[in-house]
Symmetry: D3
Subunit: 122 residues, 6 copies
């Protein structure tokens, strides 16, 4: 299962380096705003990562979902919490989100297996 | 400004009644899952409403944005917090979200005017 | 209510004429494929108009929805049938389709008022 | 070719079980509304499955397309009919739907190979 | 007709000021990357504005379309050229783009009326 | 790397033949409008291919992106130019476009490797 995580992360890092190496200012700045947007502010990193996840789900981008699932896992988000995010994504975005939810559940399980299961504490 | 709020809410209520009055089980159940999904659970109502808002923004639905802005306001979400949600929506969804953000800011101001400004307390 | 129908149809006709008058071959051919696609074939016009309607709903285009609602009404589609189309659109496309459904119901009522209510016969 | 069908169905069943096993009420209810929406009603199952298919195509979800193609095949939908659905999907949704149509045709052929070709009878 | 242009521009300017006045760094930076992206570079401003226009059309954002139409007009883009952009947008994005094209044509005519018709010179 | 190009092109050709072989007039005409839309006109083929590429990116269709990248490469578009298209796509379409940009960069490199690097000449 952890192969799923590593393959995604390797490809992502490798290609991000190429994008940033291309010396295109617009792309570089988009990457830097991306870093800024998820930093602690009036909202916590945990909340922001869930916002990123639900957005990725309703827009149905598997790689973005994987990225935010990892961040959510690092933030200590529990199984119950992540499924409530899935619920809202599937409700707002419709059943068209279900296949992405299947892959999200698979990836979440891989994260649980590799890094341990988070216990819910509000 | 409060006319903006009332006109939206009146039309929404009136048409929702017609949809629910049509005696179509699928539509009725979707409405009832909708109620369920935003209730307090592992995640707070406040968090869930922000998830609903950001989803509505990246999917670019003005009426859905208005609905969740009102709920966010009721949950005591501050100006700084709401703008951080706007930031993530515009980042993930792109500049195509900006016109919806303009209308969101107008509606948020109407809510602030009618119900008072929320102060941020984490 | 019938003003809703006429205003939409007038604007639509007037602007379609301008588009076709612009002498752009690509636009002209897209319009002609559009006519072709909804003609009786292996599938009936009635079925095809419902396909056009549900597509317009999940893609959330109010004007396209109005256009296909009118065609569906001409094809004798009943209230029960149209609500089953709405149900599938809202299920597949998510609650983001609800505001468009509200406007669809309003337009459908205007059609019922102007042209009479269709009775379901399979 | 039938490997294409089995791999999709196996993964789908396995992950659906996990989603339903997670004991999240919202997800469970969305699945149950999904079942309800495609049942015989004012519209036939055949019509509803074509509505599900065309929605999945314009929203460009390969797994959803596969699922509905299988259901359409079970409902006896012919090659001519399915291509008319493809036509409307590609017209309304644009050439962006073409790559999904290529994969749809491949899957439809696998279904024809495994279960036999449906003959058109209106 | 020129009322159409002024009303859009007034609302846009007024709300942009509020967004930038909110002192949210993410929103401010997105606005500044937006300025950067359309500046002369390896590609001309004219080409970039057409790229912005076609993106806005396939993503079906009327306000974004209006904004880029104005910029395209300033760049001397002719009627024939703009209709070729419309053609690609309607082809790739599908007939769902047609209602937005109707409004685009109306706005383009208003621009032609107010600022004069551009003649095509390659 | 060139395997990436060949596999895509083989599958694409093979399935396009089947679609055109199905004798469905709507699909055939959509393919023929597609050919027409990208021909030299008021706008150059080079400009039109960039319009096709940016549309495919904001609508997030990997196969369409690959197709237009190849055409852009044939038109002599340079690395700097293609990255400016990527910049506009990621700005307008949001960070949700990044994973598709990663795959686009990989494909563009494969094209550069197989056919040589284009040098920018305006």
């Amino acid at each position: 299962m952890s192969k799923l995580i590593e393959e995604f992360q390797d490809y992502r890092s490798r290609m991000n380096e190429k994008i940033l190496g291309a010396d295109n200012k617009v792309m570089k700045r988009i990457y830097s705003v991306d870093t800024l947007a998820y930093q602690e502010g009036a909202l916590s990193v945990k909340t922001k990562e869930m916002l990123g996840l639900v957005s990725s789900m309703v827009l149905r981008c598997d790689d973005c979902i994987k990225y935010h699932l990892k961040k959510c896992h690092e933030e200590g988000i529990s199984n119950d919490e992540i499924f409530e995010v899935f619920g809202i994504a599937n409700l707002v975005g419709g059943t068209i989100v279900i296949p992405h939810t299947r892959r999200a559940v698979e990836y979440w399980e891989a994260l649980n297996e590799k890094y341990g299961v988070n216990t819910h504490t509000n």
